[in-house]
């Protein structure tokens, strides 16, 4: 159906030129799901754009994009108009941005139906309702009149899928459909595409930077690096025994719930101004030799590979990716011994039954973001905090940092209260500013957390200024921390927008470290970063978190990243702690159904982890679950009883971990049954 042959795209702008794609060839057949993976800037979106004939201005395209035999690049306006939508429909990378903000989503869908399926008004509305239902939107009738901004990320992605399928295309393209979504949603969305291929016989092109997450649903994968196809082949094999060093690097960068350690690949993807003369990966490749840097490897079928497995490499690797990786990392090995020791030292962080309610500006009510969280953290300890998007993780971080005040309960950092709390004194003025520097936060958005119009050197030194250090001392401390982050001094004079994401996050960590705080909170520090950069930053964080006399809190919606270096982990759900315990205990032997659900939906590479059968499927989205009187999970839990709905269970100890669920003892048996009758 789709056959791309030797496609090259050169984007010419005065003063700069980007070779976005160089000699890309692959094809998609009806009923097939093809995954297109690679790092940011690899050219994935450019391929998608070429297929729908929407290349950016200044593009020079050679080669062919054959769709049902005709070349999209050379179609005239009418042919193109017929091709778009009906032939190929694309789901955009950022679904909320791709929905028109001023038109109801129902109307947007009806527009597509009317254009491509020649439906009349009422008919189209009915069809729209059905489509919404089909992609898993509940109460679709009501949602038809919603606007894009009223949708959550997952909902918007579903709407986007319905819009694309509403065009009844032969080929469906999804550009990073799951970025920004949390694990439970990711699975659900990806399944929609598999479904489209299986039931409607559409071809599907799934684009992602994350090999692991799309691996499950794809028939074949194409790996793109710096605008070139480095490897393509059957998904299962490519993932289990990738032959190209880049594919291997990509896979190793992804953390795994099973505990396989992340291996960071140094360096970054080159920005090509011309089609490469050599292997574009040469600079980062451990196997590179003279040939690699002088010639560009041709794409060849892999010797001994099954199906149409081919790659462009002079040194194909054959070993399986991670034979015999240790299941526990060294840091977690010590974890068991630590709590006893930690209890003796004064706690760095103490949170006692803290509630946070965001008041709405007008009127009464508000959003109850944290509901009675109690935590204690000793020096040297690393705490992981996991949970779905919106469960209150960032709120917890802000609470610790004194950026929000607890509505009730207390928060103490290094013995001091940072904000006004009922009945407690707090430092003021300079003392408060010093107290604040005892805890530091590393943000999710690395560039956004740096003041855009100040050189980064300024930002790093900020905590030192509050501490009243002299400029000379400041410079020395900043220099030291830069060395630790492996950054060059020259970076101090740069502005945030001149930094790459990875550099910016190193700066962010440097700023957190420079004042020697007692506590560092990492709020999803890698989720905005590229896969291989993520791995690099995680390595840095693991190093920092291992500092003996400092406590760390590591927040993530992704359990796998936490496993690498946390000692303890708490699972947050709707502002409450539902399970807590040493990281290996919680991950290997989860007690709470919610924890099981999270673990179950975490991506894992073909069969590495063996707990698939125990996965718990939650029945609804988070936003539809309202915490009433009983267990907050009651509305979504498949094992819910009347007691759960009426009454809330407190955290109970089960061995080394604690969980808040009435049905913990019965769970293993229940899960077995659920697997039989879904």
């Amino acid at each position: 159906m789709l056959s791309i042959e030797n496609l090259s795209v050169l984007i010419r702008r005065p003063g700069r030129q980007v070779a976005a794609l160089s000699n890309v060839s692959f094809s998609v057949r009806p009923g097939e799901v093809v995954g297109l993976v690679g790092e940011s800037g690899g050219g994935k979106s450019m391929v998608a754009r070429a297929i729908v004939g929407l290349l950016p201005g200044g593009s020079h395209a050679t080669g062919q994009v054959l769709f049902d035999g005709s070349d999209v690049l050379r179609m005239d306006d009418t042919a193109l108009a017929a091709h778009r939508g009906r032939g190929v429909a694309i789901c955009f990378q950022n679904p909320r941005g791709a929905l028109s903000p001023t038109r109801t989503i129902g109307k947007q869908l009806v527009d597509r139906l009317a254009t491509h399926q020649e439906m009349s008004g009422a008919q189209a509305r009915e069809a729209a309702r059905e489509l919404f239902e089909a992609v898993g939107i509940r109460s679709p009738q009501r949602r038809l009149d919603a606007y894009a901004h009223e949708l959550s990320g997952g909902m918007a992605q579903r709407v986007m899928i319905s819009l694309a399928t509403g065009c009844a295309p032969d080929l469906l393209i999804a550009d990073e459909p799951t970025t920004g979504l949390d694990v439970t949603l990711t699975r659900e969305i990806l399944r929609q595409f598999r479904h489209a291929a299986d039931t409607d016989g559409r071809g599907v092109l799934l684009i992602s930077h994350d090999l692991a997450s799309i691996a499950e649903v794809c028939d074949r994968v194409v790996v793109l690096y710096a605008g070139t196809v480095v490897e393509s082949g059957p998904a299962e094999q490519v993932l289990r025994e990738p032959a190209h060093p880049y594919t291997r690097a990509l896979l190793r960068s992804v953390p795994d719930v099973g505990g396989r350690p992340v291996v960071a690949t140094p360096g970054a993807m080159p920005l090509l101004t011309q089609a490469p003369e050599n292997c574009p990966f040469v600079a980062r490749c451990a196997h590179a030799d003279g040939t690699c840097s002088s010639r560009r490897p041709a794409t060849k079928p892999l010797a001994g590979g099954r199906g149409d497995w081919s790659l462009a490499c002079f040194h194909p690797q054959t070993r399986p990716l991670d034979a015999g990786a240790p299941s526990t990392s060294p840091t977690t090995a010590e974890a068991g011994a630590e709590p006893a020791e930690a209890d003796r030292k004064p706690a760095v962080l103490e949170i006692d039954d803290a509630h946070v309610v965001y008041r709405s500006r007008f009127g009464s009510g508000g959003h109850h973001a944290l509901r009675g969280v109690t935590l204690r953290l000793a020096p040297g300890e690393t705490l992981g905090v996991v949970g779905e998007s919106g469960c209150g993780k960032s709120t917890l971080a802000k609470l610790i940092m004194g950026l929000v005040a607890p509505t009730s309960g207390t928060v103490t950092v290094a013995g001091q209260a940072l904000v006004k709390q009922p009945g407690r004194p707090r430092p003021r003025g300079r003392a408060l500013r010093r107290a604040r520097t005892r805890a530091q936060l590393v943000f999710q958005d690395p560039i956004g957390s740096l003041s855009p119009r100040r050189p980064v050197g300024d930002s790093i030194a900020e905590p030192l200024r509050a501490a009243g250090l002299s400029p000379a001392e400041r410079n020395a401390r900043v220099a030291a921390v830069l060395d630790r982050m492996e950054l060059d001094r020259s970076i101090l004079q740069r502005y945030p927008h001149e930094l790459s994401g990875g550099q910016a996050q190193r700066i962010g960590i440097a700023r957190a470290l420079v004042g020697e705080p007692n506590l560092i909170v990492f709020d999803e520090p890698t989720s905005a970063l590229d896969v291989t950069v993520q791995a690099q930053i995680l390595a840095v964080i693991a190093d920092v978190a291992a500092d003996a006399d400092r406590a760390s809190v590591f927040i993530s919606h992704d359990l796998a990243t936490v496993r690498g270096f946390a000692d303890r982990v708490v699972v947050l759900y709707l502002g409450q702690i539902v399970e807590e315990g040493p990281v290996d205990v919680v991950f290997d032997n989860p007690r709470h159904p919610y924890t099981r659900a999270l673990l179950g939906s975490a991506p894992r590479l073909g069969g590495t982890a063996g707990s698939d059968g125990e996965a718990v499927e939650l029945v609804k989205d988070l936003e539809e679950a309202d915490a009433a009187t009983g267990c907050p999970l009651a509305a979504r839990c498949p094992f819910v009883t009347d007691r759960c709905r009426a009454e809330r269970q407190e955290l109970q100890s089960y061995g080394e971990s604690r969980a808040a669920c009435w049905r913990v003892p019965e769970l293993p048996a229940l899960i077995g049954r659920q697997a039989v009758t879904p």
Partner: protein
């Protein structure tokens, strides 16, 4: 995103070219260059007016009133016998000076108010914004006349008047900017790094909130000049007989009907060109800012 242009050839090695790209920013650059050039010329004229003008700013040639261009008077004389060309050059000083000073004052005052209102919020914000509302809804020329009548009609008072009329817009702009910036992580980062409120305002919010101000200010300068001309027309402008384009135009406007175009057309053109310079600069800056946002 531009559409593919058809290149009906079967040869797949011939590139298909999508037109477009960066012409937007190229034109923006041209606008900026054009505007800046005009303004530099005007500024040079203002500085070197005494060298370029054969007559004094208020020098009267009593024997030659309302004479046509030519001879002793390059652009003729006005009803008082003053040399139009010389006055036109001298006027650049007052016009540029007043416009720049007024806008600068408006920017300083407005930014300060906006920063405070936006950062501290609450009742302070409410009160400041209501004050801004009051000033903004107060009719310009009544304000102008009031200031003129209170302080006498001097250059300083015109600056104050025009600044008072413009400051509210900046206050709003900066306030809105600060309010959205305040939500960004870098502010939280500064606070948790122990920066004091003043430090956050001064070192982080101020420099970042000035971006839109920079774009608006040139447009505003042009507008200030037009306001000045309007005030002169109402007799509220600079004091006679100082040379100012608006005053010259309004004095000479009635002459056009009698065919004596030279008393008001040359200063009119000068004003037009200068305002156009500001507009071009502003438009270019805005284009560039918009292009960056896309």
């Amino acid at each position: 995103m531009a559409e593919l242009r058809t290149a009906v050839t079967g040869d797949s090695t011939v590139p298909v070219v999508v037109p477009g790209g960066d012409r937007d920013s190229r034109f923006a650059r041209r606008l900026i260059i054009a505007g800046a050039t005009i303004l530099s010329v005007v500024a040079l004229v203002a500085v070197f007016a005494p060298l370029l003008s054969p007559w004094g700013e208020t020098e009267i040639d009593p024997a030659n009133t309302l004479v046509a261009p030519g001879g002793n008077h390059l652009l003729g004389t006005d009803g008082n016998g003053m040399d139009i060309w010389s006055r036109m050059l001298y006027a650049a000083r007052l016009d540029l000076g007043i416009a720049l000073a007024a806008v600068a004052l408006a920017v300083v005052v407005g930014t300060l108010l906006g920063l405070i209102a936006g950062y501290f919020g609450g009742w302070l914000d409410d009160v400041l914004m209501r004050v801004v509302d009051i000033f903004q809804s107060f009719p310009t020329f009544i304000l102008a006349l009031a200031v003129a009548a209170l302080l006498g009609n001097g250059t300083i008072n015109l600056i104050i008047t025009i600044a008072a009329v413009n400051a509210p817009a900046y206050a709003r702009l900066v306030r809105a900017e600060v309010r959205s910036l305040r939500e960004l992580p870098f502010v939280d980062a500064a606070i948790t790094s122990g920066a004091s409120p003043v430090g956050v305002l001064w070192r982080h919010l101020l420099p970042n909130s000035l971006t839109p101000v920079r774009v608006i200010a040139p447009l505003n300068c042009g507008w200030a000049m037009l306001t000045l001309a309007g005030l002169s027309f109402l007799g509220l402008g600079v004091s006679i007989p100082e040379a100012e384009w608006g005053a010259m135009i309004s004095l000479g406007a009635a002459d056009v009907v009698g065919g004596r175009w030279w008393t008001s057309v040359p200063p009119g053109l000068a004003l037009f060109v200068c305002v156009l310079g500001f507009s071009l600069l502003g438009e270019g800056l805005q284009d560039r800012a918009n292009a960056k946002r896309r």
